[in-house]
Symmetry: none
Subunit: 426 residues, 2 copies
């Protein structure tokens, strides 16, 4: 048997070759085709997780992968895995993202990462490249969290299968459980092999930035070094309903007046503590009784604070607790969710940066402001991400767009990086 | 035929007699009974205008009035009129109020005035009092404006029937038109006579103060001299939806940040212009898309400004226009409603004050902070109101309450006043 060689020189060459074989038209055609499934009249896409539309999209991708000679498998959370064999029985390198969307979503969020993964499979086939390790493209189930909460059910279950039992009982707005849709998925694709969880060598997710930083800097590629940490809270301010016309200002207990003051205080210390990297958002508001001529009796609003530094998040927690305490019984805090900042593996980050350099494309380090499936994979294997610019920084919106040139560059960097990782020694 | 006499001495005596025949237990029992229709678990009442609950309440009152020998009629706006005949064919004296409530309303707002009117009908019957003029108790439709906007549709249509056509097309939150509910009311009560609009001699509305002034002064009865003027506006602030995690603070266009700033500016000049008599409320808010991790793209909120002085209202209008103009295209103002201050008829005010004096009860002049059906009746006939104290000044709230002693005093004053007015010469 011939001893295959994966030394530095030949590996670099194969990676360059893979990047060169990325076909711009095939990539954008695939994006256009997927965007027709769940297309909105405004140019956006509405393709709920595990809906009939999602099933239809999956069916097309399964057929495409099989035509490329890949094996297709699924798991207990309806994640799909499209595997290109390696020469050795080693843990695979993975890429991929999700194909579910926000209700008023765009055509690139998630879909781009999956279809770029498929383009890499095709490019490797065209270039007749053999890799030491298998390469898998994954579709992670229900990343958006729009149909079933929380999001990233698929990738988080892949990393921690014990989560599945709890997720199965979650219902969508129509009362359909996540478990029922998983069973329907299994029935819809009866011939797929079942993939057991197992070691993964590395995971690289390619995604649109969903923010304006790359575009503002004029940089085509972002080397994502991690995902900022987040705190979600609900704050309830209590006052007393009273008649708008009859109640003197001095005796009012207006819950909205209180809420606006608390919001201002939180915003001020969030920006002071977090500086330019802070993101503070008060996105959801519920006012009671919400009547034009009644003083608000209660206002509940949400706080979304994000920052890449654990120390800043901790100082925010302390300042928030102090702020709430200062307001006594009229202000109540309910923590909803939190996640620490994630720093991706230096080895994977280096591979992404080297891929950009090998292509001669300018890149910059960037911290992801949004959650991604990579957040969970990072717990299991060397993980990093590649970002391409979002036009006007817009995402979760039918206007979401990225220049074709950038879509292609991102895919070339992904192909380069994946081949390098696939040829890494055990 | 015996010539009936309504000279000063006998009229005063009949009025005293009517006041004495007010039955405290019957009054409070009637209030308790009506409060069971639409009762909330927190002790409040939720009885939307022309809902099934409202129909049920009306049915009970129609039966009670018929048992008292009254004739019952309705009009094109589903107002109900319970008429006790007079000895002469003269324009009637009217009292009454409304029985629809706020969604988190109390048991007295409106209901007290209607049921005190019924108590007067019963007291006059018990005392076997005949009056020169007919006495009518009215239930005015949709006073609160909670289900259909604007409020006081019934009383304003009674005074100006041309308003009805526009009101009929107004929809509630479920999409049901006001016109459809009027038709349903007509079908539900097919045997009621139709009352044509016509001259009214005087209108006296008894109501809870809905504010703290009488209680703070320790005065049992308020002689209401008028109603302060009001401006209602809707303000829409526009921003841009964007991802809470990925969008730097400096490039955000957060519609809630803008709305909070505009709210603060309006509050500041309202209080500066209006002083202690100013009432400024921002009661209703609608945030889009109202999602925890999306920056608000649009916020619509209401402004309710009230003041007794026309000059202050005019200065507020000018300051508001200037404030909106300063914010450019992102802030849009829609006027919803306005009403100038109303001064009630001196003749009717005198009758109310005389009734308090005749009972030996301390009273004080007071300007109403709230709208009432009397606002509209004042355009048609000599109108005034009687206020009783609201405990802790609370109204539009399940905790709304008035001491029984005050409820009875108010009803005695009403009975006295109505008999005096009913015996006035043409």
């Amino acid at each position: 048997m011939t001893q295959l060689s994966y030394d530095t020189a030949s590996a670099r060459s194969a990676a360059d070759d893979a990047a060169e074989h990325v076909d711009p038209a095939r990539l954008t055609d695939a994006i256009d085709a997927l965007a027709t499934i769940g297309a909105r009249s405004d140019g956006g896409v509405d393709r709920p997780a595990l809906s009939a539309l999602d099933f239809s999209a999956r069916r097309g991708l399964i057929e495409r992968a099989q035509a490329l000679g890949c094996t297709v498998s699924t798991d207990a959370c309806a994640n799909l895995f499209f595997r290109r064999a390696g020469n050795e029985d080693l843990p695979p390198v993975m890429t991929g993202s999700h194909i579910d969307t926000q209700p008023t979503g765009g055509r690139l969020d998630g879909a781009y990462g999956v279809l770029a993964g498929f383009e890499c499979l095709a490019a490797l086939a065209d270039a007749n490249i053999r890799t030491r390790r298998p390469l898998e493209v994954a579709i992670w189930t229900n990343e958006e969290g729009s149909r079933f909460q929380p999001g990233a059910m698929g990738s988080s279950t892949f990393v921690d299968p014990s989560r599945l039992e709890g997720f199965r009982t979650v219902s969508d707005a129509a009362g359909v459980t996540f478990g029922a849709t998983l069973d329907a998925h299994r029935s819809a694709f009866p011939t797929l092999a079942t993939r057991a969880p197992g070691a993964v060598h590395a995971f690289i997710e390619l995604h649109i930035e969903q923010g304006p930083l790359l575009e503002m800097a004029g940089t085509p590629l972002g080397v994502v070094t991690g995902i900022q940490g987040v705190r979600w809270h609900s704050i309830r301010c209590t006052g007393a309903a009273a008649h708008a016309g009859t109640t003197p200002m001095a005796v009012r207990r207006d819950a909205m007046t209180l809420a606006v003051r608390v919001r201002g205080a939180i915003e001020a210390f969030a920006l002071e503590l977090g500086g330019d990297a802070a993101r503070i958002t008060f996105g959801s508001w519920h006012i009671e009784p919400n009547s034009i001529n009644t003083i608000p009796s209660a206002v509940t609003f949400t706080v979304d604070f994000r920052h890449p530094e654990p120390a800043v998040l901790a100082r925010f927690d302390a300042a928030l607790a102090e702020c709430i305490a200062q307001h006594g019984a009229d202000v109540h805090l309910e923590p909803l969710f939190e996640h620490p900042p994630v720093h991706f593996a230096d080895s994977a980050i280096s591979r992404v940066r080297a891929a950009c350099d090998a292509l001669g494309v300018r890149s910059q380090p960037i911290v992801s402001g949004a959650f991604h499936d990579a957040l969970h994979l990072a717990k299991q294997c060397a993980t990093a991400m590649i970002f391409v610019p979002s036009r006007d920084g817009i995402s979760h919106n039918p206007l979401e767009a990225t220049d074709d040139e950038h879509l292609v560059l991102g895919t070339r960097a992904l192909a380069h990086c994946l081949v390098e990782l696939c040829n890494e020694a055990p």
